[in-house]
């Protein structure tokens, strides 16, 4: 009896390992596949929990062998149905994500982008500033502050929940990156153009 059981245990281990590996990929379709593998792993585990295989647990059935435990089987059926339904939903979501974002990748979230912007600012402050070039360090600093604020406000808008006109939000967050990159360019422009800037979805980028 240990033979098949051991194989099943190994199968559970492999399914879980592969599933978690796939879950951590950036491509959504791989995430979905990872979830399916995990679901299978969990279902096999549940089946294993019922103990050794036996004769069918039917009323009126007589057999020499001990009966199989019907409870985990019932649970596995339920779990399979749930996993199936949720997988369909995930696929739909991945598809919608592809339609809306034009890509199958999981993008950096707001927090990541904020941390990124803050780090860029720190780096630029720490190294590479040469006062001999005649630039006012204070101005330089505020310029960066400003660039970062602008970046944040872009992120916030992109993030803003309900009642938001969705047109043009695609790629808006990513534009924030470009802005931080080119931050030393047009600092003055940015201070005044903030109001209109928002409406056009970063159209004045790089001005």
């Amino acid at each position: 009896m240990t033979g098949p059981a051991l194989i099943l245990v190994l199968a559970v281990a492999v399914l879980f390992a592969a599933g978690f590996h796939m879950l951590m990929q950036r491509s959504l379709i791989r995430v979905v596949v990872g979830f399916m593998l995990l679901g299978h792993g969990a279902n096999v585990l549940l089946l294993l929990a019922g103990g050794a295989a036996g004769s069918p647990p039917l009323i009126g059935e007589r057999s020499e062998r001990p009966m199989a435990d019907p409870l985990p089987q019932a649970m596995v059926l339920t779990a399979i149905v749930i996993t199936f339904g949720v997988t369909a939903f995930l696929l739909a979501l991945a598809f919608r994500s592809r339609v809306l974002l034009g890509e199958d990748e999981v993008r950096d979230d707001v927090e990541d982008r904020q941390v990124h912007a803050a780090r860029r600012r720190r780096e630029s402050r720490a190294g590479g500033r040469d006062y001999a070039d005649g630039r006012d360090p204070i101005e330089d600093y505020t310029e960066w502050e400003d660039a970062e604020q602008e970046d944040f406000s872009q992120v916030d808008i992109a993030h803003d929940p309900a009642r938001r006109d969705d047109t043009g939000s695609r790629g808006r967050g990513l534009k924030g990156f470009g802005r931080a990159d080119g931050g030393t360019g047009g600092g003055t422009d940015r201070g005044t153009g903030r109001g209109t800037d928002r409406g056009t979805g970063g159209g004045t980028d790089g001005a």
Binding site: A49, L90, L93, L100, A162
Partner: protein, 506 residues
């Protein structure tokens, strides 16, 4: 009275089916859905009265006897939480009805109402479930409808956040099945009452391992510190009233499940210190996160994470006093967190902004919103005489009553975190309400897309929820004695066991 037990779960499910059939008739939906939830609330209230009279009530669905069949159990804890959660669900649904009546039909009412009712059914079943697997199914019902609600009117950000949310929840659900499988393999049962007997025979190591596995499962679902990362990313992107439901109930349902599973099944000594440490970490990380953020929805989401720590603290003490505090905190937080998000919806509706950088002058614009924000903000910070103060007081007393260094230390952290919460709330108050409107702010939406009546109705609903938070403080005496009885039942499950295994009639 047994027929009352499944009703809070069955009625919303029926309502979901009916609303799905009539999804094209919006007026129908707006009448039918709140009526269903009201009926469920009445059933839950009746159930609470019945539990007060008869003690634990168990129902064996389909007449299969206890350890084999599906058991629904209503005890003091579940009856109390049922009433509170369905009440909050009703308030938020009325808010949605008010919003929809204002002609803002863009949020797919034909999807919203059925999904919302299914969510209600799932929440009710979580509180009533008498075995692990049914608990899992209940969570799936709740989460599956929450996935739909989360991605309602899908925008790019919402889909991305919804994906994060869905994948993380699913992963915890997979771990949940795995934990159930392992528990069944170890004990041969999934029924809570039966398990509480059988786990006693397990080796200590197995019990601790299973307990930790469940801690991870519900830790992910309930946003406990190192596993909370998904929450502040995904919650703020949904429609605000959806976020209000999620913040009020989803994490709290997970905490309820954690309380149920860990008290009934597992040894306390090893888990206690882990939980206390996690509680302190959750409190600190959540509230400090709230202090650094700029978007009010994100701030409230971090506050939510921080305050999960308080409930975990109460559970981690594993004493009647601690659990009483945890139950009180659950009740208080369900109401107050829902109110906070509804108020933030009003703030956003009035100014068109959610960023503290551009909010301002709200106190001048609408003193009504200012008062509505101020009360739950004080409550969540634990300022007397609000419900937050009472819940926190119970927890602090429990923490100091324990003669352990760790309990003292975590109580200290909890006091500090109360102050930090107050600071976060004052930040919103000074920046959003008191200071004059900053220049960066765009023009406030002069004539909002809502009609006057619907704005007034939304304000009224929010006010009702805010007043609900105050009522908790008013009835603190009876509530505390009810909670301590519930806590005593949790630590000594003999009544629970008796009702399920012996007295349960079909």
């Amino acid at each position: 009275m047994n027929v009352l037990v499944p009703l809070p779960f069955v009625l919303p499910l029926l309502g979901a089916a009916l609303t799905m059939i009539s999804r094209r008739r919006e007026t129908w939906l707006r009448v039918l859905a709140p009526l269903t939830v009201t009926a469920a609330l009445a059933a839950a209230g009746g159930l609470m009265a019945a539990v007060a009279r008869d003690g634990v009530i168990a129902v064996q669905i389909g007449g299969w006897t206890a350890p084999l069949g599906i058991t629904l159990v209503a005890d003091r804890l579940s009856a109390l939480l049922l009433v509170v959660s369905i009440g909050v669900l009703l308030a938020i649904m009325l808010h949605a009805v008010a919003e929809g009546a204002g002609g803002l039909g863009g949020h797919e009412p034909g999807v919203f109402y059925p999904a919302y009712l299914t969510l209600t059914a799932g929440v009710a079943l979580i509180f009533l479930a008498g075995d692990l697997f049914n608990l899992f199914v209940a969570f799936e019902i709740m989460l599956a409808s929450s996935y739909v609600l989360m991605t309602l009117t899908p925008t790019a950000e919402r889909v991305q956040a919804g994906m994060t949310y869905t994948v993380v929840s699913l992963m915890s659900s997979i771990l949940f099945i795995a934990a159930i499988g392992l528990t069944y393999a170890a004990t041969g049962s999934v029924n809570f009452a039966d398990l509480s007997l059988r786990v006693a025979e397990l080796p200590e190591g197995t019990r601790t391992a299973l307990g930790l596995l469940f801690l991870v499962v519900f830790g992910i679902k309930g946003a406990i510190a190192p596993m909370h990362l998904w929450l502040p990313d995904s919650y703020p992107t949904a429609l605000t009233r959806v976020t209000a439901v999620f913040a009020a109930l989803l994490t709290k349902a997970a905490i309820y499940a954690l309380i149920r599973v860990e008290t009934l099944l597992f040894p306390r000594d090893q888990l206690s210190w882990i939980m206390l440490v996690l509680a302190a970490a959750t409190m600190l990380i959540g509230t400090l996160g709230a202090l650094t953020h700029d978007d009010i929805h994100r701030i409230f989401s971090f506050i939510l994470v921080g305050h999960i720590g308080y409930m975990l603290f109460g559970l981690g003490l594993f004493s009647v006093a601690g659990l009483t505090g945890a139950v009180l905190y659950l009740v208080h937080h369900i109401v107050v967190q829902g109110a906070l998000f509804l108020v933030s919806d009003l703030m956003q509706g009035r100014t068109g902004e959610t960023s503290l950088r551009r909010l301002g002058g709200l106190a001048r614009m609408s003193s009504f919103i200012a008062v509505l924000f101020f009360i739950p903000a004080m409550s969540v910070s634990g300022v007397p005489p609000t419900s937050g103060f009472i819940a926190k007081l119970a927890l602090f007393q429990a923490g100091l009553g324990e003669d352990r260094f760790l309990a003292y230390a975590v109580t200290g952290v909890a006091v500090l975190v109360s102050l930090l919460t107050l600071m976060a709330m004052m930040r919103i108050w000074t920046l959003g309400f008191w200071r004059p409107r900053p220049k960066e702010a765009g023009e406030p939406p002069a004539a909002s897309s809502y009609t006057r009546a619907s704005t007034r109705l939304m304000g009224t609903v929010t006010a009702v929820l805010v007043v609900g938070g105050l009522v908790i403080a008013l009835v603190a005496g009876p509530l505390a004695s009810w909670s301590s009885l519930a806590a005593a039942d949790l630590l000594d499950p003999s009544a629970y066991r008796g009702a399920v295994l012996d007295g349960g009639s079909p």
